[in-house]
Every structure is written in C-alpha cells, then in structure tokens.
Symmetry: C2
Subunit: 376 residues, 2 copies
C-alpha cells in the first residue's frame, strides 16, 4: 500500500471493485532485479499484468518481454519493445502463430519436445530455441504441474534435433515454481542445465543461455527473502555448476515485478451466519474467484487484507465472493481473521494483487463486469 | 451434437475455439421441463448462458428468469421478459442493487439471513422473499458448499423477520447440487420445507411457494435420468410432505436447459511426451480452464470429446489448455482416452458445453481472447 494509491482511492467515485497499481513500485522492482542480477537480462512475464502502462514503463527502463501469445507480442511491440527484446516463451504454440511471431520479428522461442521444434523450424527458420526442462517446484506456493518441460535426459535430444533442423540450439529454461520462497531452489535445476550444456558440447554444438524463469515471490502475509538474496544464491549456483564458463542468463519475473505494486479495493456486501448458534461468520465481498482472485484456488495464495476496523478484536471468518457459484469461496479451510466490528458496506483493501488478477477475471460471469484497473 | 451444428461448423472460417449452441435443443429442453412439471413455473438460471438469443427464445416460450445481478435482470428485460417473471435469486446483494432491481419492477428476492432481509425491506418494500436453506448436495457432480442458505431451523426466524418488516414471506428455496443424478435428492429438502411451512403457520403467517432450485443434469459421458423421472419423483415427494396442500412451485434449470445444446470446436495444438520412455502423451488444446472450461476444476465435469479419428485405437492422455499456467490442465488424475492417431492440427468437438462456458472465460488471460459463441 502506498500513499499514491491511498490518495487515488480517496478521490475515486465509481462503484464496484477495482485494482490500483502504483507504477513507482514497478519501477523500483525492475531496478532491484537489475541490481541483484547485473549480468542477467530481465524478460518481464507479460501475462502477470499486461497493462499498457506497465509494459511502456518497463520498455522504457530497458526490460525485455516474455510472451505467451501473439496478442502479448503485439502488446509488447506497441509498448515500444523491439522484437529482439521479445521471447515467445509458451511451449504450446500453433504453427501459424509462430509464423506470425516470426513476421513480427521475434527470433527466440521456447520448446519442450521435438514436435514443437519441427513447427519452429518450418515457421521461424534459423531462430533461437531454448528447451524447457521439468523442475520439481518444491517450496513454491502456487502449484506447478508437469505441464511444461521435458525430462533433462530428453532435452539434449530436443536441442540436437533443433540444431539439425537449422535452428540455433540456444539454451535451457526451467521454472522453480511461482512464489518460490527458497532462494536455493535454482541449484538443482542449474546442475541439470550444466549437464545438458556438457552433453550438447559432446554432441558437437554449444549452448549459450540459461533461462532462470520466474518464481520470485511477492510479499503476501509472510515475509519473503529480498531479491538480493536470490541474486546471490543464483550466482553462487552458477559458479558451482558452470565454473568459469558462466552462460548468458535471463530471468522472467512476473509476480515479483508487479505483485506488490497493486491493491484491490472491494466492498463487504453481506456478513451472516448459517444458524443461530454458528460460531463462524461468512463475509461476502463484491470480488471473488471469478472477478480476479482466481489464485485463491485451493486457497493457494493468501492475500493480506486491510479493513477500516483494523485494531479491533478479530475472529475467524469464511471469505467468499459475490457470485451464485458455490465454488466462489476464497478462504474456508483456513478461515481468515477479520474484525468483529466489520460491517456491511465497509471498503476493504486486498494487498499484493498487482499480478494475475485483471486478466484472470471472467468476462461476465453472473453478469458481473471484469475487474477495473487503474495504473497510476 | 446436432446436424445444424455440424452444418454450421462445416462452413466456419475463423480461427480459434468456438461454442455453437443449437437453439432448437434449448426449445426442446424447455418444453420437456414444462411437460414434466406442468404445475411448476420455470425460472431459467440466466448465469448458465446469458446470450440474448437464448433469453429471447425462452422469454417467447413463456419462461421466467432467475438472475444473479442487476446486469442479468437488464438482460432478461431486454429479451422481452416482464419484471413479474424475474427473480433476483442471489442471496448476496448490495442494497443499491436491490434498489435498482426494485426500480426495474422486480418484486421477488432470495435471502438467507436477517441482514439481507433488512436490505430488501429498506430497498424493495413490500416485495416477496424466499429463504434459501442448506442442503447436503449428496449425489451432485459439481460440488456445493455451504455458501448459500441457512440451517432450516434459522429459516423460520428469517422469514418471520421479513414478515414483521412488511415483506411478504413467500416461501423456501434450496439447491440439491448441480448435475444431480439422483432423482430422489429433492425428498429430504422438501421434508425440511414442509416443516418450515408448518412452523411459519404456527407463528401466524403462511408461506406459498417452494423453489425447487436447479440441479437437473445434462448428459456428459454417463447417461442421466430423463426430466420426466425428476418430475415424477418431485411430485411424489411434494404429496408425501405437503399432503393435499401442495404449494406453488418453481424450478431454476440452467445446465439442464442449455448444457446439451452446445458444442465447442477446438484444435489440437501439440501432442508430446515428457521423456523418451514416457507411457502417457500430453495433448494440448487451444482451449482450457481459462478459456471456458472452468468446470473441469478438480476434474469435476468430464465432457464427451469427439475427434476425427474416432474408431481408431485409443490410449489415455493428459489433456491440457494452451496457457502458460501450470494449473491449466483439464484431465490428468484420470487421463482421457484419445485415439493414438490423433494429430496436431486436428479439430475436436467438446460436447455438452452449452452451459457455464462462455461467461467463465477469462477476459484476456495470456492474451487469449474469450470464447467466441454462436447461437443458431
């Protein structure tokens, strides 16, 4: 929460929940990453918050952009990024979308299988590709599945195949899991990466780059290590596994770049109990899982909530959204402590909501409009 | 899948996934409900599919409408429904939204606590209210939580409070759980309802209506009982618990009205394995959890999928969506059998997708546009 956001909300007159993002915080976050990892290029993960204001700010600061679709490539270009600063980082791409990206000048693509390599070789000849490898994601708060990446043993074959098809086998990528609280989480993946570098060299071609992915956390309720601690730990792991042949590196922060820059203002719509002797209250907000807080799925992300009654005695509440969907409950397994004095009509603030909120909004579920956003 | 949808898809030229809904099927569904429950008014649950074409068709057939928000009330009115055919069925309403609904002529409101009764009494004086009670939802495929409704013991107090505040204490509502496969599921809730009717009469005011809610299933992979079986079972339960004083009844079908009328056409973007000796393939589509298939959450709804290779040998696959979100996996715990010959670029059909798809779409997650829809 910043003074600029507080000031903006004081003068706001419209109805309904909204997100306010302080661009000054995004700027500070970018500069922290640049300082903490001085030899690493920053590819901002556009999907975390693709607002034109955020993209323009970061383009101006010199950031590169990791994109998930042609639409995101076009947004990055519109914000002033040149195509050589854009990677098409989704391992799942239609061949005609690769062709479109190539037309737009993009020359850096993620792959995790030979099938995808073939598409890139046909639609974006001569481009650089990096192969994503699986990583166990231990220590991360937002669950990672096996959806992206292949076993390290297969990555060498994938990269060799790219090399044979005339692509530049450029490097390896991995993702240690979103909201990763363990600064050592990169070590094992870097050991695997170094092994892949060695095997590729033995097969007669050299890799250049390790994409360290995202995973840098934002502060929700628990303290998280500073970016500097991640930078130091990653640098040590690089030295440990690559010796004096440290590769080019890139990072893809998303949540870590914008998460703590945003605050959602929402309204308490109803507070009730399920029976006369119920010992827990239900607090219903005008925002829920389908209005932008999708990351409360399985209660994965626990946002800090500020109320105008903070300081009063609290008791645990079930927190739910406004839709007629019974799955639209934010916190129930672990109820959320809120002031007993909290009242219908109170405005509350949900902090750390600058990432993965606006774009997750349903287009019109139950007739509710998508989350409004202001980037100031 | 109908011949009309097949014909429409044959001539379709645009790129990207789309939903096609056959309005003839919706019409048949409405008529089946009307026949199976001849003394029950149908309040279509607008949230299931609020397209103007569906609403206009149903308004023309004489349907009433259950709405979740002022926007949905406005859509129903725009489709030709008069306000006396609209209920504001969300138990979680801002007082200013109740006032707006009252201005628009709506006089029927859902409540489940005294706090909501107070709002309705102030903003919609003299209106009818029905109190939603909790129901265990056993037998339903889409999980119901305790989010809506109060214990039956509290409902009498809630309704008496409404009566004292000058509202018409009109009745009781419940929901037996979405995609309810047990035709007997209404029995216990009707027993509770009859008890509430008796207690209210003892306290000096009479209820008139039981809202039987939704829950009527659509056919996915398993056969479901016909609407007639639900109608017969509900009528028997009404006789059992209300004797010769059977109340006015309404139902709120959503999924049962439009689910089987819709088919999504999607494209296979990638098929791959995670390692050379992996025994399961990953099949990635251009639609996933954030593009309209949100009801695959926890693999709750299992849609029938048709491919151009049906009849060939099948093997189990993990099925996933196109976004860079690791949670965007449709079926993994129970893999989906798909033809071994299935290829990148194949168009597949996801059946039973007429309900709870378009409006669940994220507004622009990963830059992907919301699900396109055609109602023919």
């Amino acid at each position: 929460m910043t003074e600029r956001i507080r000031e903006f909300l004081r003068s706001r007159r419209e109805d309904g929940p909204c997100l306010v993002v302080d661009l000054e915080v995004v700027r500070e976050n970018y500069l922290s990453f640049a300082r903490a990892l001085p030899d690493t290029r920053v590819f901002y993960a556009v999907k975390a918050n693709p607002s034109p204001e955020v993209l323009k700010l970061l383009a101006g600061l010199g950031s590169c952009f990791d994109t998930a679709s042609v639409a995101e490539i076009e947004m990055a270009l519109a914000a002033g990024a040149t195509p050589d600063r854009i990677s098409y980082g989704n391992t799942i791409k239609k061949e005609r979308d690769i062709a479109r990206a190539y037309e737009l000048g993009v020359r850096l693509y993620a792959v995790d299988c030979t099938e995808e390599v073939e598409k890139v070789a046909r639609a974006a000849p001569g481009s650089k590709v990096f192969c994503r490898i699986l990583c166990d994601g231990a220590g991360a708060e937002w669950p990672l599945s096996r959806k992206f990446g292949c076993e390290p043993s297969m990555a060498v074959d994938v990269l060799e195949y790219a090399h044979r098809l005339g692509l530049e086998a450029y490097g390896v990528s991995f993702h240690v899991g979103s909201q990763q609280a363990n600064t050592e989480a990169w070590d094992q993946a870097l050991a695997s990466s170094a092994g892949i570098f060695r095997e590729c060299a033995e097969r007669g071609f050299n890799l250049s780059m390790v994409n360290l992915g995202g995973g840098f956390p934002t502060r929700y309720l628990k303290d998280v290590p500073a970016v500097e601690a991640y930078g130091a730990s990653i640098f040590q792991a690089l030295c440990r596994h690559f010796g004096n042949a440290i590769p080019e590196t890139i990072i893809e922060p998303g949540r870590g770049m914008v998460g703590n820059a945003g605050v959602i203002e929402a309204e308490v719509v109803l507070i009730s109990r399920k029976s006369a002797d119920d010992d827990i209250r239900w607090v219903y907000l005008d925002i829920g899982k389908f209005g932008g807080l999708a990351e409360t799925m399985d209660e994965a992300i626990r946002y800090p909530i500020r109320t105008p009654r903070d300081g009063d005695a609290v008791e645990p509440c079930v927190l739910a959204g406004p839709t007629c969907d019974s799955a639209d409950v934010l916190y129930e397994k672990v109820p959320y402590p809120l002031p007993v004095s909290l009242s219908i009509g109170d405005k509350i603030l949900i902090e750390g909501t600058g990432a993965y909120t606006t774009t997750y909004s349903a287009v019109a579920f139950n007739g509710f409009p998508p989350l409004k956003a202001y980037h100031i």
